[in-house]
Symmetry: none
Subunit: 404 residues, 2 copies
């Protein structure tokens, strides 16, 4: 018995005035989703806790059964894992931007003209060792990168070097506690050396020739320490996998020990969700669990794009139809969002997300439709995100008896 | 976006035989409450936890997001704050009665003939210093008062000096742990000195002349230590306020850092709830949150007064109509009780309370009526009291993202 957990990122919503104070899920046709609902039990879920608006990273940690309050210190570690750095517990990791600064280190362009190409060459030349600390830099999509400090005695309570504003000087990292003094010193020395390397880097000389802003400084933010996370297979005794549309989610999944396929062209209306479903079907040949993450619903929500969100829900519904038709193994399916991203808010909120769990043995609670209100009438009631994986393992016959 | 939290104290009930085994909320007409329900989501709430019958003090701490198990040790600190003593963390505080005792300190009248006047003069003369400990006494309504011990090395595990029975002697306070030995000693010395002061006090000489029982002894109970409570604005980043009908609630609110108006003539069928609503509207000009507390529903319940409780619910409904009509700012409304006070029990019980949350963006869950049963069918499910404030902050756009 396989477990398939489908996440519509930011799919849940509030009452939307443009939709007659209904939610996109309420007004959209999605017969494959509804077929799942009718074959099981529904409910609502607080991914972290009631009243807590989750990030996608903390939400996905919770969905894999981890308490983010115990292991999450910042986004950096998961971005770093997402771009393929083999992070280790204790590594201090950052999100970074390639940016353009002037001779006085004033930020002129936080994204270096939205640089797209050859950032791998830049990042490669920024790997170095300072005071016994190994520094790993890896490019991500566009102007983005990840930076890791690996060594002894590194704290992670550091201020950003990113001033987060144009026209301001690149900041000196400050240690916010004693333990982080060494990390601050190393980071600041790295900022100086990397600045010099980038200024004269062939890629930037070429960019200047072409009239493009040079990517001559990194800016760091989102610092966190890589936590010790019990790997999925150790924790649950089965192999887990993931297909996802963003580096951040890929990072969370890899950090949690899931075999992860990051579909590069994911994330919006042009996503090939059928390809994603095919990846899932293929991963489920050797894994017993697959988390299938769809990003586009969140992107359309952040843009306040009512019609786009409805279309994206339609695409997700088609993907589910394809998956349930083509997955040959018996499976327990669950569908939820990682958090709400209401169209009128254009950001994550704490509103609980609809959840359905579907399968041959799952109690049929009579709920007919997959939406925030219909699911709230279901037999699952209102649960917390960290419990979902345990419920799914149990329904798939993979839980352990507690007691005798 | 403002937040208005309306509390009908003890409003929730059980099946009442005199009402055909329905609750007062089920049989009473309340179209303004129902209008709120129809414009949002409903549910039920365990203010503290399922099966825990809350006091009004612990319930209101939870409603402001504090875990009462971490900070509550007794009612004294909140009574003291409620009568306007500027309590400080570490103060040991008591509820006190002015009572009448005979020459052998046998209690003849626990309320000194329900003394109403001139207790301020009595209380004023009981402020003193014993063994370096400052003693603050302040009158409350009627025969009630609050007493505070302020000094170093004071524990709060003390037995009551109030024997809680007529015909018994005023008790010597006993330290129930080693840390509280000094506080017991100081309190017992205070009991002796205050007894002497009160016996010969001009107010009591006058009372004796008039044939009234003298208020010649204090009786203490409800001891607790003033906790360190994070102030509302620090905790949530917005200014909070309260309009309430009892000193105890005012004390809780002040201790939590809310700008508080205690309406003196509150608390029963003669309450001017429209005046309360006007206070709330005015507080909401400079505050983003207002808790509006109505006491009369609880008083009618403690008296087992079926018709009175129904009338009080009607008055609360009128108040809500006035408030929603006259508050000009956009707001998220929530209505609940702090606990159930069933008419047949005449005391607080643990039955969950009905809750509705209402506002433009709030999901419309189709519930039509505000009562214990209808609300239990709503999209909120069954939540805990400490989460409510977080949910409301999120719906008003004032929550912080946890993660990225």
């Amino acid at each position: 018995m396989k477990i398939v957990l489908i996440i519509g990122d930011g799919m849940a919503d509030r009452a939307v005035e443009a939709l007659g104070f209904k939610t996109p899920l309420q007004v959209t046709e999605h017969r494959n989703l509804d077929a799942l609902v009718r074959n099981g039990s529904s409910g609502t879920m607080d991914t972290i806790d009631a009243g807590v608006a989750p990030g996608s990273d903390t939400a996905h940690l919770a969905l894999l059964g981890h308490n983010p309050y115990e292991i999450y210190s910042g986004r950096g570690p998961f971005e770093a894992a997402g771009v393929g750095i083999e992070v280790r517990p204790g590594d201090v990791a950052f999100r970074a931007n390639f940016s353009t600064v002037d001779a006085n280190n004033i930020v002129i362009d936080r994204r270096a003209g939205r640089i797209k190409d050859r950032t791998a060459e830049l990042a490669k030349d920024l790997n170095m060792k300072i005071a016994g600390v190994q520094i790993i830099c890896r490019e991500s999509t566009g102007h983005r990168a990840a930076l890791v400090l690996r060594g002894k005695g590194l704290g992670h309570n550091l201020s950003d070097t990113d001033p987060h504003k144009l026209g301001e000087k690149v900041k000196t990292a400050k240690a916010l506690d004693k333990r982080s003094a060494k990390a601050a010193k190393v980071l600041n020395e790295f900022m100086k050396r990397s600045r010099a390397i980038l200024e004269t880097h062939p890629v930037n000389i070429e960019r200047k020739k072409q009239g493009l802003p040079p990517a001559n400084s990194l800016l760091t933010r989102g610092v966190g320490v890589v936590p010790t996370i019990e790997k999925f297979e150790e924790k649950y005794g089965i192999k887990g996998s993931c297909v996802c549309g963003t580096g951040l989610i890929a990072g969370v999944m890899r950090a949690c020990g899931l075999e992860t396929i990051l579909v590069p062209k994911g994330g919006d209306l042009d996503s090939d969700l059928i390809a994603k479903a095919n990846h899932a079907i293929s991963l489920l040949k050797t894994n017993e669990f697959c988390l299938l993450h769809v990003k586009g619903t969140d992107n359309r929500s952040h843009d306040g794009d009512v019609e786009g969100k409805k279309k994206m829900i339609g695409k997700l519904d088609e993907m589910i139809g394809f998956l349930t038709t083509n997955l040959k193994e018996d499976a327990v399916f669950a569908v939820c969002a990682d958090h709400s991203t209401p169209l009128e808010v254009r950001d994550h909120t704490a509103d609980p997300v609809p959840l359905c769990i579907s399968g041959r043995q799952v109690r049929k609670d009579g709920v007919q439709r997959y939406d925030e209100i219909s699911c709230s009438k279901g037999a699952l009631g209102r649960i917390k995100g960290t419990r979902l994986i345990h419920i799914l393992l149990d329904l798939a016959g993979k839980s352990k008896l507690y007691g005798a």
